[in-house]
Amino acid sequence: MDPASSFPLPSQIEDVPGAENWRSMYPYFTRFQPEDDNRFWFYNAMHFPEPMPAFDVITAEIPYQAIGANTARLFVFPTTLGIEHRIVNGRIYITAIPVTDPAEIERRLGIFQERAGYYYGNWDRLYQGWKTRISALISEIEAVKVPELPEFDDPAAVMESTGVAQNHYVRENYHRCLDLFSRMWNHHTEFLMLGYGAYVVFFEFCKQAFPEISDQTVARMVAGIDVVMYRPDDELRRLARLAVDCGVDDLLPEGCSPDAVLQAMGERGEAGKRWLEGFEEAREPWFHVSTGDGFYHHHRSWNDNLTVPFAALPRYVRMVRDGEPIDRPTEALREERERIVAEYRRLLPGDDERAAFDQMLGLARVVFPYVEDHKFYCEHWFTTRFFGKIREFGELLARWGVLEDAEDVFQLHHTEVDQALADVALAWSAGGTPLGAAHFGPIIAERKRMLEAMKAWSPPPAIGPVPEALNDPAVRMLWGITAETLATWAATAAGDGAEIHGYAASSGVVEGTARVLHSVNDIGQIRDGEILVCPVTAPSWAPVFGKIKAAVSDIGGTMSHAAIVAREYGMPAVVGTGHATKRITTGQRVRVDGDRGVVTILA
């Protein structure tokens, strides 16, 4: 089958019924142009598994600015420029732009070697500096004030002659949020592409030396053991043990409510106090972990929504009480990792290969902590605080009657929020009334209806003709897009009904009842022993992994954190199926074969 003939063209995509006006939600530069029919685009289901609310597209607009600048202009990667994005029916499609002219590649390679060489050569020191900078950014976003706009301005403005009225700070501080968000994303990508680059090199070497080595085994040799992204879950386990030690574990039954628990702990004297102290220690900063991946305003942090961590605590408490091992066996994991490395090293044909292996593994291990850890600081901690601040501006708009509900601020593009705030600033300055309610009211209502309608659409995993080259290391490693992926998607689209093919992410074969979830907010629906089928599994879904028997996702590549977690839980996983959430419905009986990468619908 020729894959080029089996993907639809951008111009062939029809509007979702009930959402024909979706274009009004997004800027002109996100619309497909006629010439885009000549380019290959894939649906970024990994980061954007749901239709985009108007404000949330900032999580594409800003990151792609940063990533492209980093790759194309800053470090000057020889064979890849940046990433372009388009939106259709509320979904984000992206394409990476390759450099294929050998003379160009040569020219860029020289500059790349100098700049990338500096970072690779000073990685640890620079990474430490990065941690300081990102911590400062997080403090800054937390410190942004949303002005009160009182009847009479603060007397200090006069007495200390600052000379600036409160409504000025509405714009300045709102923009400060956007500017800090942009700075954060620059920080996010600063090391990222270089990190992927070093990993790809080691990965390709292993695949050449051992053509039948599994992707996850390569990842195991490099991956860290004490990864920051595991820490929130580790804290929950610690809190469970603390509860049992303090004798307050009876206050954490299945289905307990956070408010009730915290209240009851407060009434439990010394023991309860001790547990509460432990709880406060854990939540700052570890409960800043998001239920999502950093791209939607409605993925709140555990601190914003304590029901998520409290849903996992009772199970851990039960395990501690039953004497079941609860700690991640880090020592054993470390030893196993070293054993695997030593074995593959021994199997290499000669000393040259072993020396090269040592070099590449060494570099991959230097870069991997950043690759694994940056998410917590950027997509989780910073991002949830960022959305929290925007929410506070939404509260300001709601107080002034521009919005019915503060949360509706996310139905407006960030430039429209600018207008709404200007409306309020003018109203305050004039002593008048903002005009926003009449203007934005119907717009917001329509957009909510359209988002609902667009949820049901299953986006094609790829559109346009097959690309000439796939050079971007992130595209290969993170999204798992290779020539084989394209062939698999094409075959699935043509489709044999009962079988869905993807990548074997974690071994084992199980059968069970499928639970198809489109949004992480629905994880409460999962029953014990079900098989999770979702657009993508994010590391923040870890608490639910204890309940499920297997995981299936639409998209995912070799660096999928979900694969690592699935392996730790000893459960089969198949990722990168392209269409599983479309082909499988909740309640169907399925077989997940994590060895072959096949999901079969049984009934």
Binding site: Q113, E353, A355, M360, A483
Partner: protein
């Protein structure tokens, strides 16, 4: 006195005993020594063959006549070897030899125990030994009389026309060759097959490739069935690839429990994997042991019987050095560079053209053997 001359237990011979036990017998003895399970049995030695040949042909005329054949005269070769085989097949069996064979046979389990009777030619030239009837294996032979008969058949196969033709072309002297015979208790396997201790497809040394079918391994070897195939990592134990085929036919004991019959596989088993995860783990361990013993990748025939313990149930029927990949000098995958980052610069300076995907690896009819 002559207790050891005409028969030897498998555990009494090793790699150095090719002249006595033939290639197959010596190989099986070597496995025994390495503590690897093989079906219990013994060797009818080369000396037994010589004894019988001397009784039949005291002057050594047979060998002489064969050696004088023109290498390119197919008709003459066919005529002479046909006559020689007929003489051997009908020759009187020396009593001493018969008694020792029968005694050891009873030791395997009684008067009617089923055995495999397998040619095992001696001689320095491995290829000559292969040609000289390595394929001749008779399964499910019962009773001392039938056993003696099949031993004679193995002896006769030394003079197969193709084998003789090869020896004449290679100018291998007849006196350098004799035929030992391996006699082993039959296994009734649940499943059987072949494993390579490196990938037969890519030469990857970190994996073990297994193919298996229901019943006797002869179904797979003969191409009568499309086998299940698996690839297992030697390092992590994970099953890297699993392909379950539709296994329509199997081989098992024939009527009366003798010979081999072809049977249909019941529908419920056709698409069921013939090997469970525990079986694959046991096979991988076994393969690793055999490979470590010989120090080079092996091509191993195995069988699994559901017995008291899994360890007892997994046996090796034969092991030969893998020849395709072991002989190749692998092109170097990478050499160390001045700095680790130089690997990155080389890789990231490369354009990854989107090649058409490889043809799908559908199961075929199994390896040629």
């Amino acid at each position: 006195m002559n207790a050891q001359r005409f028969v030897r237990g498998l555990n009494e011979v090793g790699a150095d005993d090719r002249a006595v036990a033939g290639g197959k017998g010596a190989g099986l003895g070597e496995l025994c020594r390495a503590g690897i399970g093989v079906p219990p049995g013994y060797v009818v030695t080369a000396e037994a063959f010589e004894r019988a040949l001397r009784a039949l042909d005291p002057g050594g005329a047979i060998r002489g006549e064969v050696e004088r054949l023109p290498a390119d005269d197919a008709a003459a070769i066919a005529e002479v070897t046909g006559r020689v085989r007929a003489r051997i097949a009908g020759a009187p069996f020396p009593d001493e030899v018969r008694d020792q064979i029968a005694a050891r046979y009873r030791g395997l389990g009684g008067d009617r125990v089923g055995v495999a009777v397998r040619s095992s030619a001696t001689g320095e030239d491995e290829a000559a030994a292969s040609f000289a009837g390595l394929q001749d294996t008779y399964l499910w032979v019962r009773g001392a009389d039938a056993l003696i008969d099949h031993v004679r058949k193995c002896w006769a196969s030394l003079y197969n026309a193709e084998a003789v033709g090869y020896r004449l072309r290679m100018k291998i002297a007849e006196r350098d060759l004799a035929m030992a015979v391996v006699v082993q208790r039959m296994v009734e396997p649940r499943c059987a097959g072949v494993m390579f201790t490196c990938s037969p497809v890519t030469g990857d040394r970190s994996v073990i490739a297994v193919e298996g079918c229901w019943g006797l391994g002869s179904a797979l070897v003969s191409g009568d069935v499309t086998p299940d195939s698996f690839v297992i990592s030697k390092v992590t134990g994970e099953i890297v690839r699993r392909q379950v085929a539709a296994k329509l036919r199997m081989h098992r004991a024939g009527p009366g429990g003798t010979g081999v019959a072809v049977a249909d596989v019941p529908a419920s088993l056709q698409r069921a994997a013939c090997l469970r995860d525990a079986d694959l783990a046991a096979l991988a361990r076994l393969g690793g042991q055999v490979e470590d013993h010989y120090g080079t990748p092996q091509d191993i025939e195995w069988a699994i019987t559901d017995g008291a313990a899994l360890q007892e149930g997994v046996v090796v029927l034969q092991s030969r050095p893998e020849t395709v990949w072991s002989r190749r000098r692998a092109a170097p995958v990478a050499t160390p560079k001045a700095r680790a980052v130089d690997h990155v610069f080389e890789q990231l300076g490369r354009v990854n053209r989107v090649a058409p995907p490889p043809p799908s690896q559908a199961p075929t009819t199994g390896p040629e053997r």
